[in-house]
């Protein structure tokens, strides 16, 4: 029996020889083997259970939004860089390879399904992502066993300069401004998410796919502020926008580009002991 405490259950992502251990706050991994019962006329009971599809795994984790460097030309962390690359692949119908993910001694080659980043005032930004492990050729989707997996311990304390934080993130470029109003909105927070659709290609005579293609992607950005835009245009202009998250100590910001974004909704809500807050949602598709 392996007893692994959380401090020895790191999550590491590797792509094209570049690795990063994410500051994951939770992680879950599942492996499924779909089986369907078969019935036949003239037979009582079932003929048995038979495979209904290829084995596959799913992994999702939340992590603190780290600003650890530039990965493949994109600032931030390796997941942000991966999402940016996959977004481009989705828009170009390109074939992509999976990325190697290790979690507590278990590893597999995963394809990004979803990615999200949230930032609120005076709080550490958190992100989340999800992967599917399809396997490839004869390679199993997931291999390994539950075991300790962590980096080298460093016994010092320091300020977290490499983590995106609401205190240092300026999203004034997303503030709603009404020409007839008194001023631009105050921005209280933002939640970004993107989901990818992919298409694993299976061939006869082989359980696992020979390749995987991303087909399309849709991203959404919800901005919480204090101005309600009731004059939504029926056919509004598309905008290219950049979401920049920054951390303590003036670190370069992590950038997320939204290409051809349109505002699709606006809302406002009230709760006890709080001001009325508004939210607008922007979407972009690839």
């Amino acid at each position: 029996m392996a007893t692994v405490f959380y401090d020895k259950a790191a999550v590491e992502v590797t792509h094209n020889g570049v690795s990063e251990q994410l500051l994951a706050t939770d992680c879950s991994l599942s492996f499924s083997n779909a089986q369907s019962p078969l019935y036949a006329i003239g037979s009582k009971g079932t003929l048995g259970q038979f495979p209904a599809g290829a084995r596959q795994g799913d992994l999702s984790f939340s992590f603190l939004t780290t600003l650890t460097g530039t990965y493949f030309g994109v600032n931030g962390n390796i997941i942000n860089s991966l999402a940016s690359g996959v977004k481009m692949a989705a828009s170009n119908s390109s074939e992509v390879s999976g990325v190697e993910i290790k979690f507590a001694g278990v590893s597999g080659s995963g394809y990004l399904n979803s990615y999200g980043v949230g930032v609120q005032s005076n709080s550490v930004s958190s992100s989340s992502c999800g992967f599917t492990f399809f396997g490839s050729g004869t390679q199993l989707p997931i291999t390994g066993r539950l075991d300790n997996f962590a980096g080298q311990t460093i016994q010092t304390g320091k300020l977290a300069t490499g983590v995106a934080h609401g205190r240092y993130t300026n999203l004034d470029n997303f503030a709603t401004s009404l020409t007839a109003g008194d001023s631009a909105a105050n921005v209280f927070g933002a939640d970004y998410s993107i989901s990818f659709n992919h298409n694993p290609v299976y061939k006869v005579g082989q359980e696992f796919p020979m390749t995987c293609l991303y087909t399309n992607a849709q991203e959404t950005l919800g901005v919480t502020e204090d101005v309600f835009q009731s004059g939504l245009a029926f056919d509004s202009a598309a905008n290219n926008l950049t979401l920049t998250l920054s951390g303590l100590g003036g670190n370069y910001g992590m950038e997320i580009g939204l290409s051809g974004a349109k505002q699709v909704s606006t809302a406002m809500s009230a709760g006890m002991d709080d001001i009325v807050r508004t939210q607008k949602n922007l979407t972009a598709v690839y």
Partner: protein, 279 residues
């Protein structure tokens, strides 16, 4: 040589007004830096979690009030004026050192008195602006000053109107006012964009009695026996009929009563009245 600082070298100034009769000051902050925790943690990194605030507690004898000329728009107690939406800034001096604070908002205000005492006020405030010393204090603004004068009230010259004290002797009272605050923080800022004066304001008035024929009520909320009272407490200048401060609350609900008896003391009762004021 080791030195020490005594009360004569300490003072507090709020909005340029020297606060008199101070019995104790407690000013403190607790850093909101918290260690980040993650799966496979390898080092301790600290990041701020939540808005950074400080707190200020002040206990004073109520011996200085504003002059009557202020009474049109101010309470004559300097600190009571901050139960509204006015922020305050100030300085605590100790020896040659100073603690600066800004954007203070009163959270609670209490006044109490017992037989043989001078009325005292206690306040707790939250500092949403800056607190301490250092480079953050390059700009420092204070509100307009209120200048109090020596006016000493006394337990012997106060008036309490509650219809209970003709046969039962009141030995102490307290008035506690809680004024909620709602700070609104935006992105890219560590001070609130605004601090909203929340509502309702909760008022609790507590009395202690040496009882004669005081009747403890039924604890059930029976509509016909629910007790609502109007309470007015008037503090007057010692040996004088000059009114200094008056606390008046209508339709307060009787929310608790207690009775104590002992071999070495008179029978006593305490009761609490509570109301909420919308603003």
């Amino acid at each position: 040589m080791l030195g020490r600082i005594r009360r004569e070298a300490e003072k507090i100034t709020i909005n340029n007004s020297g606060i008199q009769g101070v019995q104790s000051i407690n000013a403190q902050y607790e850093s909101v830096a918290r260690p980040l925790d993650n799966l496979g943690i390898t080092e301790i990194q600290y990041a701020p979690q939540g808005g950074q605030t400080a707190s200020l507690q002040l206990n004073t004898l109520l011996i200085n009030t504003l002059e009557a000329g202020y009474s049109g728009s101010y309470s004559l107690d300097v600190m009571q004026n901050f139960t509204g939406d006015i922020p305050f800034s100030g300085i605590i001096d100790y020896g040659t050192e100073k603690i600066y604070f800004s954007q203070g908002y009163l959270e609670t205000y209490s006044v109490s008195c017992a037989i043989g005492e001078i009325p005292q006020t206690s306040t707790t405030s939250t500092i949403y602006g800056d607190f301490g010393t250092g480079v953050l204090f390059s700009e420092y603004d204070q509100g307009s000053s209120l200048i109090p004068s020596l006016n000493i009230p006394s337990y012997s010259s106060m008036e309490v109107n509650l219809d209970e004290f003709t046969t039962n002797r009141m030995t102490s009272f307290s008035v506690d006012i809680a004024t909620p605050r709602v700070p609104i923080y935006t992105l890219n800022a560590d001070k609130p964009n605004k601090v909203i004066a929340g509502t309702p304001i909760e008022v609790n008035v507590n009395f202690s009695l040496d009882v004669d024929d005081y009747k403890i009520k039924n604890m059930r909320l029976v509509p016909d026996e629910t007790i609502f009272k109007n309470a007015t407490i008037t503090l007057k200048k010692n040996n004088s009929d000059t009114t200094l401060l008056s606390y008046s609350f209508d339709n307060m609900l009787l929310t608790s009563e207690s009775f104590q008896a002992g071999v070495g003391s008179n029978a006593t009762a305490n009761f609490n009245l509570r109301s909420f004021i919308l603003r």
